[in-house]
């Protein structure tokens, strides 16, 4: 279906190619995963397939691409619209209509379909993507998962044979992401659509895809089919999902691609099924005390009856799906959102009563888009400004930052740093004023495995230094390796609360992969320690 020959790309003004001389083929009805480190050119490769690269970017593309027997390289995106559908990371920003049905019609209107054909096709694709009941709804009233399904339907409604997706599940919670991935699998198998998808979080993707294309940081691509070569490619990747890591640790051959496979391999391995190691409850000085917290927006409760005390030097995870009240809780604790209930610091003060500047000496929040906190034109300036503001001796923030990321050129512009490094810089700045409590909102969003791993180490180090951390996350694997305590939120209410070791095994299909496989350990590290 797609044949890429000797494809190279250079950014304008750069002599170093992003990738060079790629030769790749994708079959009809193939569900293909593209993965690799950030900045390796995955998005560029994907966009070159429908003409967005080079026509909506600056740079030079060389080589040839053939789709469905036609040469498509050199054609404009709108001339390929009947053949290739493209869905970007944030569908809500790409919508051009008010209602779902209008959005679905848009592409076909541009292609000149007759009205009755449009209605037929809309009905068919809506049924396929399970959005029939949403057709007359305004787009901005839909959930993230529904919006993503509408975007995919809109990209395929005119009968496109190729679907390109750039991290479609990055903003979705586990349940919505799982549903979406299964729909994509069906589109490939039943409708014969060639689905090419970039993903960072591949733990739930591996069992569904037909092929993996790994684009490394030097711009080389390796492709393997499920039938052959998956093992080598998974061994080649530096950081992989816990399930694969466990397989590597235990020298399983071939590596498992689904939880079910891994389970049977684990049973065969005959490793002792120790009883779950119950971590001793960490008791210590209370750093933050929350009782009966309640937040309402326009009369609708977003958080109700939430109580939790955070012991000094521990990490607590607020775990839950999108819209379960995690962010609202963090902002309420900070005192920036109107709430009822008690929030008390160790010295008895309520953060809401403190001035913003004073409050930073006690607790600080790092928001989802940490780069919003970075305001100046070099790292050095940011660090200096932070010391200045904190009345701290010169070098305080720098020491914190270097501790987190290691040596780095301080003349660089903060916006040129990777997402993980930006987050670390924001952390350092927020901690420079001496805050002993750190609130983090979805810190792993947009990070690859490598960056997540680095962040986990950073947070562990902060904990060792006595910082108390409360993090909101729906990334169970990240939480499993890190949190001491957990608080599971659903619809603004705490449905489970306790030590992470007690809570994680009870999460069913949301439990960490290693637990689902072994029923006795939560992380690969625990298994490794046991043998």
């Amino acid at each position: 279906m797609i044949s890429i020959h000797q494809l190279s790309f250079n950014f304008a003004g750069s002599s170093q190619p992003l990738f060079s001389e790629l030769d790749l083929d994708f079959a009809s009805g193939e569900f293909a995963l593209i993965c690799g480190p950030t900045g390796g050119g995955k998005s560029t490769l994907l966009k070159s397939l429908n003409g967005l690269v080079p026509f909506h970017s600056s740079g030079t593309l060389r080589g040839s691409i053939q789709i469905d027997g036609q040469t498509t390289s050199g054609k404009l995106p709108h001339d390929l619209a009947h053949l290739v559908g493209y869905v970007n990371q944030q569908p809500e920003g790409a919508f051009v209509s008010d209602l779902v049905i209008e959005e679905l019609a848009f592409g076909m209107e541009q292609l000149g379909f007759a009205t009755d054909v449009m209605h037929q096709r809309i009905d068919r694709i809506a049924e396929r993507m399970k959005i029939s009941h949403l057709l007359q709804r305004p787009l901005d009233s839909l959930s993230g998962g529904q919006q993503q399904r509408v975007a995919i339907a809109a990209a395929l409604v005119a009968g496109q044979k190729v679907l390109l997706l750039d991290e479609p599940t990055s903003a979705l919670d586990v349940a919505a992401a799982g549903k979406l991935l299964h729909m994509l699998r069906e589109l490939a198998t039943i409708d014969g659509v060639t689905v090419i998808m970039i993903e960072h979080r591949i733990e739930r993707v591996l069992e569904l895809v037909d092929s993996i294309t790994y684009l490394d940081s030097t711009g080389r691509a390796t492709k393997a089919l499920r039938t052959e070569g998956f093992d080598e490619i998974l061994h080649q990747m530096p950081l992989v999902p816990p399930m694969i890591e466990l397989g590597k640790q235990l020298n399983w051959n071939p590596l498992p691609l689904s939880i079910a496979e891994a389970k049977s391999l684990w049973e065969q391995s005959g490793l002792p099924l120790a009883t779950p190691s119950q971590h001793t409850h960490i008791e210590g000085q209370v750093a933050l005390f929350v009782r009966d917290l309640e937040v309402k927006y326009d009369g609708t409760p977003a958080v109700s009856n939430l109580s939790q005390s955070l012991a000094k030097g521990t990490i607590t995870a607020l775990f839950g799906e999108n819209g379960s009240g995690k962010s609202s809780t963090l902002w309420a604790i900070l005192g920036e959102t109107v709430h009822t209930g008690t929030v008390t610091l160790a010295d008895g003060q309520d953060p809401a009563d403190l001035k913003a500047t004073e409050r930073l000496h006690h607790l600080a929040l790092v928001p989802q888009s940490a780069s919003d906190l970075l305001l100046l034109s070099s790292i050095a300036q940011e660090l200096e400004d932070s010391d200045d503001f904190a009345n701290a001796p010169t070098g305080t923030t720098e020491a914190l930052f270097i501790d987190l990321v290691g040596a780095i050129d301080l003349k660089r512009h903060p916006r040129d740093l990777s997402a993980g490094q930006q987050l670390a810089l924001a952390l350092a700045i927020q901690l420079a004023k001496g805050a002993q409590i750190l609130l983090l909102d979805e810190p792993t969003r947009g990070l690859d495995y490598q960056a997540k791993h680095a962040l986990a180490l950073q947070l562990q180090q902060l904990r060792a230094n006595g910082i108390t951390i409360l993090l909101a996350s729906h990334d169970v694997e990240f939480v499993a390796g890190l949190a001491d305590h957990m608080l599971v939120l659903e619809g603004g209410r705490a449905i489970a609360q306790g030590s992470a070791a007690q809570i994680l095994p009870t999460l069913g299909e949301y439990a960490p992969q290693v637990w689902q496989i072994t029923q006795c350990a939560l992380t690969v590290q625990e298994v490794a320690d046991a043998i």
Partner: protein, 325 residues
């Protein structure tokens, strides 16, 4: 678009908005400007979707008020006092001398100056309210999707531009909230720091929208010979040049206005023929046609009638309403 806004088509809302903005820009009679502002506000209150209504009224209202205030402040600082005018406020005069050049700031402010400044500010506010009304009631993206394909390049640029303002509001809110977390208030040094993330965010998202529209076939045309493409493009270009010339003649010189109107007529003919050439080869269809009803025609006739009367005041023979000047 909310259901109530369905009484007029998207295009009519925008024509009405533009006509009001033009009307405001063509005269300096304060009651008309106030009427335009009030009409726009009433229309927003009555027809905008509840989700957008309050935010729009608040934001555009603040913008309008600040324009008037800024205008007043500027005129007081860069003040030219003509002796004989009624002196309203007596401010100390500040003079600067650069060799031969001499600048004077502030000094006595006359009531004429204040009134002029107020009228100027009011006119700008009325223009903004006219466009804001259309923008709030009828989704501009919806208008874009039915732009003639002859205007593809323009429409793509417009798609990016139209999305900028609302996107910028969202970005500013987010970045300001984040900055609050860092705890640094209103220090000047951080102003550029606010601008950069906001612009980055805004522009990136607008470009995403343009990319998405392009990927879905926006701007696609039927097969047209190279010559016809060239002819259509030339017609558009020539029409634009003539239109510019006509407005220059109308505003800047004492030439016969009839020449200007003649040029405008020719320009419109050229545009029409260009659209016609593209139109015969257009591939686009519509799922649901928005049909103009009696209400649309009435609104358009009234809006453009009012516009014609005001515009005609520049032709001496037609000056029936001398108070409008």
């Amino acid at each position: 678009m909310s259901n109530r806004a369905g009484v007029l088509t998207t295009a009519t809302w925008w024509w009405l908005g533009l006509a009001l903005a033009l009307l405001a820009s063509l005269n300096s009679f304060a009651p008309i400007q106030i009427a335009i502002c009030s009409l726009s506000i009433i229309l927003i209150a009555a027809y905008a979707s509840p989700a957008k209504r309050n935010a729009a009224l608040r934001n555009y209202g603040l913008l309008a008020v600040s324009i008037v205030v800024i205008r007043l402040i500027f005129r007081v600082i860069f003040n030219t006092y003509i002796p004989g005018q009624n002196n309203l406020i007596n401010l100390p005069e500040v003079s600067l001398h650069f060799g031969e050049l001499h600048f004077a700031f502030m000094g006595p402010v006359s009531d004429t100056t204040i009134l002029d400044a107020f009228n100027d500010g009011l006119r700008l506010s009325a223009i903004i309210f006219g466009v804001a009304m259309a923008n709030t009631i009828a989704n501009p993206r919806k208008l874009l999707r039915s732009t003639p394909s002859a205007l593809y390049e323009v429409a793509t640029a417009a798609a990016v531009a139209v999305n900028l303002a609302p996107q910028m509001l969202v970005s500013i809110q987010r970045v300001r909230r984040a900055r609050l977390l860092r705890g640094q208030g209103n220090r000047l040094r951080h102003l550029s720091g606010l601008v950069i993330p906001v612009l980055e965010d805004t522009i990136a998202r607008s470009l995403d929208l343009a990319a998405s529209m392009d990927s879905r076939g926006f701007g696609r045309r039927g097969i047209l010979s190279r010559r016809m493409v060239a002819v259509a493009r030339m017609a558009t270009l020539l029409g634009t040049v003539l239109l510019g010339l006509a407005s220059y003649l109308l505003l800047a010189t004492n030439s016969n206005p009839a020449i200007s109107f003649g040029l405008v007529a020719i320009a419109l003919l050229l545009f029409a023929s260009s659209l016609r050439i593209w139109g015969t080869h257009s591939v686009r269809t519509k799922l649901v046609l928005e049909r103009r009803g009696i209400a649309d025609y009435l609104v358009l006739a009234l809006a453009f009638g009012a516009l014609a009367i005001v515009a005609s005041q520049s032709i001496p023979a037609l000056q029936l309403f001398s108070w409008l000047r």
